[in-house]
Subunit: 358 residues, 3 copies
């Protein structure tokens, strides 16, 4: 089923974005059963909706006749009717009805459809021209390992290049300076040189430290909230823009891992809307107080607000000051904590160059 | 009187717009006896005003001294006084007074004046460098054949290239899908292949059909408002952007023309403000209930609202999605009803190329 | 102390602005003892603040690490702490502390500092790469020769190229046409050909005339407010964008100068924010009613309002109509009163060309 490669010749131009990758298109919960959901991804207008059997569909959100967005149209079962001249398209993007003239359907009347996978509470989309490579969609199973009251998901939007977000999460040395009580390490993390883990197109960084009292998000779930605890945090980036973060703390003599510590398993994912704006999702599964719906709602809101109110103003200001998405071309002064984000930028650059070379 | 060719050397560059044509500058009623009326036409700032004898005047709305718009100035009889340094210009654009120094008037102190013709309730303007060709100003006499309570005029503005409007009116197959009861043909028009009429730089299209009940704008004026009627509609485009539309219906055995049917004689005209914004006027003369001022006001408002609320959002969205004014370069899928608008686009392209070649 | 030349390689590109000059950065009164004051000057983001001893400091408002503006950070004594990763910089722009890793400070961790001089109620800044040339900072001592209730300062901002302001002040022939009673010469000034004074990179213009009643701002301070008086006004431009204006009137047989007349000593200074926006300051010292604080406040407000409400709309409109900062390239029609501003434009052009040639 190669229908998704017929439309959009303009995307054959060299892209500033990596395309051979699975991007998040939306939270599963954000695309309701009846919705015609529009979102621009990698500068492509995309229509997301669900078939009557619930399966998600993604079409290029642009009628091939006069280029009106199909998301402004109506549903007819699993088909979409363009609001301007009522051409009708099925979930594969094929035109199935024209009320015009003899009703003949031009062979070219086809909108591009994009492969989707719904997994771990997200709808993932494949935007490259090539057939989708399912080996590139990683497993984030721990997000689903537990009750719904132990996991939170949130969507954020910011006016900055998506790599600025990757920089922010891959270099956690900012947390003591940008954030308040909620996630301060009380100055313990900044002086550490993180331990790097370089894989095949992946980069990890890990910090371990002690602090008193323990970090705000975990302290109350430790035996003695005011007493020193050992902590760890680990971030693992994989293409295109996914960072899995695990953080934990303990007051016992156990290995520093989520199996033994009070902690949480998080996912930060971004998808560029354009060169200067980014969709950003955060999901977090904790291993404590998992059955408290009220705390669950409070927790995800607090994290959302910390990102939006504390990180975003700085990231957006930096992006405006840079006036380019090519951070490294500006000869920044780099410090020890930049090792991980800079390595990620180099991989991203290499992967994009490889795509454009093909 | 060649004064209008002396100013504005920058307009000698190749233009994206057809210039050898009469464009509407304003409704006659919109330029009051005292007004200094500013409007940008084909990206040229234009000042419109009326001499004391009522004759309309158009000047380049830019003082040749320091480039302030003259429309921000004051009138001195038939002359205009610049608001910045009080240079004064007459209705031919000639500087007639300078309060500076010796009062000597530089020979170059001249603003371009544009030929105007006031006709059929519109002020028409000639923006080309060449002498105006009066044979290109067509006759829309039927608009004036009847009482003032039988004709309506309205002005609209939209953020889209003007050719998107021509496409919309030359392909009426959208009416069943975009508009409500007011002008639906109940699906009868879309399946028809319009009859085309190709002239010397003109394109016409005509549809004939039956529907029950008759079309909303005419049904109540037919003998039996709920019974089938024969209908016709005809659109005739002529340069630069004028479409004369006639629509009628009858329940008798008579020829399908306005002489014999209940119907109306309309004019759609557009003038580009810029590449991405358009002035749009609509005038309609009906041959029924011609003496009812209240209905007349209701009718023109209903038509105005249908265009603005139903067509414009789609047209503006399509224009944004296209990101170019060259529709055909995007390889659109074309359907039978596109024959007329595409032929118009080809003529427009040819005429602009001819102008730029000279 | 050459620290200000190490940062900002991008400023070595050819500039549209003159750089070897002292620009006003701010009014002394506008930079409080605790403030981190941000202003864009010649398209450079600048942080202004005062050391604990009151001395003003100017730093490039961009951390060299991740380019966040330092003005969003915090003070630590005379140092500034970046809000993102807490790098700390002293008043010379040198990084003095990094909380990251070993605390080692990269040699390149340096922001550019700009030489400042605080004088005559203004903070003057040197933005060129070369060592500051103090001979280029002129003396405006008369502003300070008298009580504080005899002098007013005001800041204005407009969306136009800064040379449009110079044009406006160097050609006073507009005052009769643009302004109301406050500074009209009752048509006496426009017919005069000003007397020019061309110096080494300076241009002066002087007008002398009689009017009845005397000019609005001075009439009430003359012996007979309704009787003819002799007037003079003189404007003197010097680089980069400073115009010293003196105006006076007398009803006695004395020389036309400020020593003998009722009048005022003014300074108009502008600094480009960008190519299309300008910071504009006006200061005025009068030699009458010098001890009336209430009149003093009224006077500066009236002048401020006259500029903002009467000049600015015309200047901004002209700038938009020009669509370029190169006024002379548009072949304007010039009149006698343009002699001074056109000569200034030619000097500015010459000086910029000289800088770019080096």
């Amino acid at each position: 089923m190669n229908t998704h490669v017929k439309d959009m010749p303009q995307t054959k131009a060299k892209s500033h974005f990596m395309k051979r990758a699975w991007y998040v298109a939306a939270l599963s919960a954000d695309v309701g059963p009846e919705a015609l959901f529009h979102r621009r991804l990698l500068d492509i207008p995309v229509l997301l909706y669900r078939k009557q059997d619930g399966a998600p569909v993604a079409l290029h959100d642009r009628c091939p006749h006069r280029f009106v967005q199909l998301s402004a149209g109506k549903r007819n079962g699993d088909d979409i009717v363009c609001p301007y001249h009522a051409l009708e398209f099925n979930a594969a993007g094929k035109c199935t009805r024209s009320p015009h003239g003899t009703g003949a359907i031009p062979r070219a009347a086809q909108v591009r459809s994009f492969p989707l996978v719904e997994k771990h509470g997200f709808i993932w989309i494949w935007l490259a021209d090539e057939e989708p490579d399912h080996s590139l969609l990683l497993d984030y199973g721990p997000l689903e390992a537990g009750p719904p009251t132990g996991v939170g998901y949130t969507y954020m939007y910011l006016k900055a290049h998506y790599e600025m977000i990757i920089d922010n999460v891959m270099d956690l040395s900012h947390v003591d300076h940008v954030h308040g009580e909620i996630i301060t390490t009380r100055g313990q993390l900044s002086p550490l040189i993180p331990q790097l883990k370089e894989g095949d197109d992946t980069i990890g960084a890990r910090w371990e430290w002690k602090q008193t009292p323990p970090i705000g998000i975990l302290a109350n779930f430790l035996p003695e909230p005011d007493v020193e605890a050992r902590h760890f945090v680990e971030v693992n980036w994989s293409r295109p823009a996914n960072i899995q973060l695990t953080i934990g703390a303990t007051q016992d003599d156990v290995p520093l891992g989520l199996d033994h510590c009070v902690g949480q398993y998080d996912l930060h994912v971004t998808t560029p809307e354009t060169e200067t704006a980014t969709h950003y999702w955060f999901a977090t599964r904790r291993n404590h107080l998992e059955h408290d719906a009220e705390f669950n709602a409070f927790k995800i809101k607090a994290m959302h607000d910390a990102f939006v109110n504390e990180d975003f103003p700085l990231i957006e200001a930096a992006g405006q000051a840079m006036e380019t998405s090519d951070f490294l071309s500006l000869n920044p002064v780099l410090i020890s904590s930049d090792a991980a984000p800079v390595k990620v930028r180099r991989i991203v650059k290499k992967l994009i160059a490889e795509e454009n070379a093909d």
